[in-house]
């Protein structure tokens, strides 16, 4: 048995600012994970379908347009609908502090705002992985 952690980095919504998503994809690759990157302007439907086909453990959503309160919960809803709520969702981008509790209540496990050291993201993934293994 030779399991690898697989992570989908996806950009929902209409903004084209993909620098952050590409940065995180590259950094997670360098941390030894298998990262699937699908580019900008993905619908929540496409993201969830991709996550299921790729059998990922995590989805990282990146959004800078301000539509996170709509689009992030839509992803977790669709995962539930497809019986794939075991996939852990986290988010990043320009997200105001006051929106974070709402997003967490919708099943987004963590939000990483600009300036977050990449180590924090890796620590998050490792701790979630461990929690999953202990289930």
């Amino acid at each position: 048995m030779n399991k690898k952690v697989r992570i989908l980095i996806a950009k929902p919504g209409l903004d084209g600012h993909d620098r952050g998503a590409k940065y995180i994809a590259r950094a997670l690759k360098d941390a030894g994970y298998e990262v699937i990157y699908t580019g900008i302007r993905q619908t929540p439907e496409a993201i969830v379908k991709t996550a299921i086909q790729e059998d990922v453990d995590f989805i990282g959503l990146s959004l800078l347009s301000g539509a996170h309160n709509e689009l992030f919960p839509r992803v977790t809803e669709l995962l539930k609908k497809h019986g794939a709520e075991d996939i852990i969702v986290f988010g990043g981008g320009i997200i105001p502090e006051e929106d974070i509790p709402f997003l967490k209540s919708k099943g987004i496990k963590a939000i990483f705002t600009p300036g977050t050291p990449i180590r924090d993201v890796i620590d998050f993934i490792e701790s979630q992985k461990e929690a999953k293994n202990n289930e």
Binding site: N2, R26, E34, V35, I36, Y37, G39, K49, Q53
Partner: protein, 316 residues
């Protein structure tokens, strides 16, 4: 297990993707699964797509999917990208070009990392193909990593190979070399909107004329542009006619037999290796190693005597 097999046969996306993970991770039920689905396998047309990095393999696949979907065919895609030899990580970016089809129920795309395997595909590729085959995908497109000159394992994994090249591949000498340039059943010159595409076409056609392979005159060179979509219908036409030619001439059957033969050998190899590891687990060969180091004996003689010992053990 039965549930997983039933899921695959009925084309359930989650079952297919879990099964691919199982073969990729070399999970405990892998062999049982592959045994179970064997009788459902052998119906798909397996098309290998290879070529150097940036030749436009993924974009070409995107337009091929579109054409096959127009014909109502179910399409499965395995896209392979390299694993870092330094960190073990991978950035799988092929499906970025194929996201037009991400919500189509009849298209299944899976990215695979090479996980240290050389040769252009991952070790699990052939087993993943079987899963897609059993799940009823009529067309399976296999995209290799961006290859250099010698990664040709795709030949064994597929029924028909498209070699995707772009203008600027190099001069005539590059085309005359051995390796990758020899493996195309169809040569696709992509980005044909760029300069010198027809020049490369002429060079390859000339090379094919010289080829000692008697079926070489059936190997076609097609100009395509994934950007404009031009040439894609003639590519599909060539794929169909080449496939039918292979079937009529028994070439397809030969290829599939070769694949099975190699598979048996591969399984045997890993079994034998396993049994060697089991037999000699924990033995460090220290005294033999010292003898070799001091030139008292050579490593071949030592290996022979160990091999003899193994044979004796397996007889008892």
């Amino acid at each position: 297990m039965n549930e997983l097999v039933e899921g695959i046969i009925s084309g359930n996306t989650r079952a297919i993707s879990k099964a691919i993970s199982l073969v990729e991770n070399d999970g405990p039920d892998k062999i049982e699964l592959l045994k179970e689905i064997h009788r459902y396998v052998g119906e798909s047309v397996i098309i290998g797509i290879t070529g150097p990095p940036g030749a436009g393999k993924s974009s070409l696949i995107n337009v091929l999917i579109k054409e096959y979907r127009k014909q109502g065919k179910k399409v499965g895609i395995l896209a392979i990208d390299p694993t870092s030899p330094f960190t073990g990580g991978a950035l799988l970016g092929d499906r970025l070009r194929m996201q037009d089809h991400s919500t189509d129920e009849n298209v299944f795309i899976r990215s695979l990392a090479t996980r240290g395997h050389l040769g252009g595909i991952s070790l699990a590729t052939s087993d993943a193909v079987k899963i897609l085959d059993a799940a009823g995908f009529e067309i399976i497109l296999l995209e290799t990593v961006g290859v250099g000159q010698a990664e040709i394992e795709i030949v064994e994994a597929s029924d028909i190979v498209l070699l995707v090249l772009v203008p600027g591949y190099g001069d005539e000498i590059q085309v005359l070399k051995a390796g990758i340039i020899e493996i195309g059943d169809i040569y696709v010159i992509n980005k044909a909107d760029q300069m010198d595409a027809t020049k490369l076409k002429t060079t390859i056609e000339y090379y094919l004329e010289l080829s000692p392979d008697k079926n070489a005159n059936h190997r076609k060179v097609v100009l395509t542009s994934s950007l404009t979509g031009s040439g894609v219908d003639s590519l599909i036409h060539e794929i169909n006619s080449t496939y039918n030619f292979f079937r009529k001439k028994g070439i397809l059957n030969e290829r599939r037999k070769t694949r099975i033969r190699k598979e048996i050998l591969r399984i045997l190899n890993s079994r034998i290796l396993e049994s060697i590891n089991q037999t000699f687990n924990g033995r460090n060969f220290d005294s033999s190693i010292n003898k070799i180091l001091n030139k008292k004996i050579d490593p071949y003689t030592i290996a022979d005597s160990i091999f003899e010992e193994m044979k004796k053990r397996s007889q008892t």
